[in-house]
């Protein structure tokens, strides 16, 4: 099992959800996060004064999938979240040791 963690632009969330639903992904966890990468922060202007916003708002999506589907999911996120402009975000994939469905106690792939 793999944990796919994608940090994307907030307004791309719905496009990503649609793309993943088409792939048959049945669940995901979404959080509003802040951070910076190569994009650094951004500048906002209020009453003529510049404010440096060091942490830019992003959305983090977390999906756990079996090994076969993980690659396709990563590709779908990349395609649907891309604007080709700086700040599109990153995708991380890590191994998952165990998964448990709380209601039934199922474990492993069948818990997904």
């Amino acid at each position: 099992m793999k944990l796919i963690m994608a940090i994307i632009k907030p307004f791309k969330l719905d496009a990503v959800r649609v793309a993943l639903t088409e792939l048959g992904v049945e669940g995901m966890t979404v959080s509003e996060v802040k951070g910076f990468g190569r994009q650094k922060g951004q500048t906002e202007i209020y009453r003529g004064a510049e404010y440096n916003i060091e942490f830019v708002p992003k959305v983090k999506i977390e999906i756990v999938a079996d090994n076969d589907r993980a690659e396709r999911i990563v590709e779908a996120i990349r395609e649907s979240a891309m604007t080709e402009k700086i700040g599109d975000g990153k995708i991380f994939v890590v191994d998952v040791e165990q998964a448990v469905r709380i209601r039934t106690g199922e474990t492993g792939d069948s818990a997904l």
Partner: protein, 430 residues
């Protein structure tokens, strides 16, 4: 000026300063005027609660929004009680040329039947009270996000007694400036110049917000600011048109020029931003609105529509420039631009009133024996004396408060936010 001539049409005011000496107590109650001033009183209270509170609240960080709302609300309550106890008397009781007497303390002598001009004195008392509420609340914008709550209350209380009461007496209570013939229809001097000047003095002693000037946090809710600004605009009709103290053509024209100036200055401000930064901002357009309203305030009952438009243009340009000047050149963290918008606007409008009152510009006309330059001289004396007294008295008030309570919160309290560290609550629980 208008306060002394209750009932006289505001259009007449400018040309009949000599009427000041004529006794006003012989008049009978006028129901129409009374109804309008009752309404205006409600409008002006609405400017502070919640208008100004929301306007300022949206401009601070999310962790400090309650402290700002709280300061505005608490000042409103305290100013009301002080007004009742002593400040109304200092402003409007007969006294010396410099301050009223103590004969009207605790509304002494104000009964169901007492008249002030041709409206009940209780109504006049309440209408004027709403001005005494908003003026110290305007200063809140200067010291947000870093001041102790107790110091806010102490400074505001002393300020009402030693700055607002006397200056109100000078200009509207029959004091020396009104004897001289100064024109301040609705508070360019009494409200905006006093608040703006004192704001600068307080921040000089208080110091800056964390991160000023390069690493400040942006306003947490410009939407909240717009809601508050819109309430200020509506409430300002009571502020300016109510200052005619009558339901007449003077009040109507005051309302018209107020609106024209506000709309004009809003557009000026946002156009400057659009040209300079490429984007017209909401915070910009509503700040321009306040600048336009503050600038027209002293002139509102005296000038005509063209005057209102010109004053709106002036207010927009000059106040925009002043915002940058105070922060960049003086390096003073007048956080929400109380001086640049209210102080500069009030002073500018007080001076401009002398020009646009002239018949040439469609105004009500200069008083008998006055020329534009002689009136301008009187206006300048009004500005200089108001600014000087506000600055001097506020320095003393701040030094006393600093010695007894201190002014500035600890750095930790500031980092945590004043909402939690001073009021034990937060606005946004998710």
């Amino acid at each position: 000026m208008s306060r002394i001539l209750h009932g006289a049409g505001a259009l007449m005011l400018a040309s009949v300063f000599l009427l000041v000496s004529e006794p006003a107590h012989a008049q009978e109650l006028n129901g129409a005027n009374t109804a309008w001033i009752l309404t205006s009183t409600a409008l002006v209270l609405f400017m502070t609660l919640p208008g100004l509170a929301l306007f300022y609240g949206g401009l601070v960080q999310a962790k400090n929004v309650l402290s700002v709302l709280m300061q505005c609300f608490a000042i409103a309550c305290m100013a009301s009680i002080l007004w009742f106890a002593v400040v109304y008397s200092l402003a409007f009781d007969e006294g010396s040329a410099y301050v009223g007497g103590l004969g009207k303390m605790f509304m002494s002598g104000v009964s169901f039947d007492s008249l002030s001009g041709d409206i009940p004195e209780s109504v006049f008392f309440m209408f004027q009270m709403t001005f005494a509420i908003i003026t110290p609340a305007l200063i809140v914008g200067a010291y947000v996000e870093r001041i102790k709550f107790s110091s806010v209350m102490m400074i505001s209380a002393l300020w009402l007694i030693f700055v607002y009461g006397p200056v109100c007496h000078w200009v509207w209570g029959g004091g020396w400036l009104s004897e001289m013939g100064v024109m301040d229809f609705a508070g360019g001097l009494v409200v905006h110049a006093t608040a703006g000047t004192s704001a600068l003095v307080i921040v000089k002693f208080l110091g800056t917000r964390q991160g000023f000037p390069t690493h400040l946090q942006p306003p947490h809710s410009p939407g909240m600011t717009m809601i508050g600004a819109a309430m200020l605009w509506v409430g300002w009709f009571g502020f300016n048109a109510g200052s005619a103290l009558a339901a007449d053509g003077g009040a109507g024209m005051a309302m018209a020029v107020t609106h024209i100036s506000a709309a004009t200055a809003s557009l000026v401000w946002v156009l400057i931003e659009w040209v300079k930064f490429g984007k017209p901002s909401l915070v910009g357009i509503v700040t321009g609105m306040v600048a336009g309203l503050a600038t027209i305030t002293p002139a509102s009952g005296f000038v005509g529509p063209i005057g209102g438009f010109c004053i709106g243009l002036l207010g927009g340009f000059v106040c925009y420039w002043a915002v940058g000047f105070v922060k960049d050149k003086w390096k003073l963290d007048d956080s929400l631009d109380v001086f640049a918008v209210h102080g500069v606007g009030g002073i500018l409008g007080t001076l401009a009133a002398a020009i646009f009152v002239a018949d040439t510009f469609g105004g009500a006309g200069l008083a008998d024996g006055m020329t534009m330059s002689s009136q301008l001289g009187i206006q300048a004396i009004g500005v200089a004396s108001t600014v000087a007294w506000s600055a001097f008295a506020t320095i003393i008030i701040v030094l006393i408060t600093k010695a007894i309570l201190g002014l500035r919160t600890s750095e930790d309290e500031m980092a945590e936010g004043l909402d939690l560290s001073y009021h034990g609550e937060r606005d946004y629980n998710f």
